[in-house]
Symmetry: C2
Subunit: 160 residues, 2 copies
């Protein structure tokens, strides 16, 4: 047998967490796409764009912020640009750089999609949980995120 490196409570936490993620991700993504034609990736990019001053990001900064690889974002933006959701603009003072901004179409799309998205998050996650559970969920996730960030930083100091 290969298992038994986790005790029952641990195994339950881990397995059900994984299963939750898979199912939840699928459900939200299906609902969003059915209602708006946007993929989760589209939605994430648009929602990041709409949430800042000027609605304009440097590509690398946005990739960092989203924890996406720079190349992933570059591909994604190309596809979204092809569909008229976003636009690249040149950056004053750095001819290498590029800004991404929303087009009118992109702005309309995110405004239509956001309620759908939040309704799903509420219905399939938030509203199922008691306030204390929500707090604990936040605490758990922040603990793990902090740990992984520290790991990443110390790896950077060592590796390069």
């Amino acid at each position: 047998m290969v298992s038994r490196w986790l005790d029952p409570t641990e195994e339950r936490a881990w397995r059900s967490y994984r299963r939750m993620f898979t199912l939840l991700e699928g459900q939200l993504s299906r609902e969003l796409t059915a209602a708006t034609g946007l993929s989760t990736a589209d939605y994430t990019v648009l929602s990041n764009l709409v949430e800042i001053e000027g609605r304009r990001w440097r590509i690398t900064a946005l990739a960092d912020h989203m924890q996406w690889s720079q190349s992933r974002l570059s591909h994604q933006i190309r596809r979204m640009e092809d569909r008229g959701l976003v636009r690249r603009e040149h950056v004053d003072g750095d001819a290498r750089g590029a800004h991404v901004t929303l087009t009118k179409h992109g702005l309309a799309a995110i405004r239509e999609a956001a309620p759908v998205h939040f309704a799903g998050v509420r219905r399939h996650f938030i509203d199922l949980l008691r306030p204390a559970q929500l707090k604990t969920m936040g605490a758990i996730a922040e603990r793990v995120v902090t740990h992984l960030r520290e790991l990443d930083e110390s790896a950077e100091r060592v590796g390069g």
Copy 2:
């Protein structure tokens, strides 16, 4: 502004949960691949195969169990078969069907990979949390999973 469909506690729970997943998934997957050459998908398939009597699954049953689409599993198995990790076998009494089983190589691979995987899960997740948090994590995930299953079942009754 588009946000404000979630209050601060809700938003913290949701956002940090998403961020946790992204980072954790990435970390575990990198560690596993670096140490063993297996992808997370490979690992999941192998670990499901090794955990049952006879180490043999019908493809559809395995796909169901893993919550994967049948076609996804079919593609995955083809690739793993090419690398000698699994093998398809015909099923007595149903010429349409196919079993998947581990090869010797696949069995060796999962035995080598499992400790690596569990060590990562421990280090980057389980051991960061207090017992009460683990319990709550389990309860949260089970609540969500139950809800999504019910949703799915009622959709099946209506849709098809």
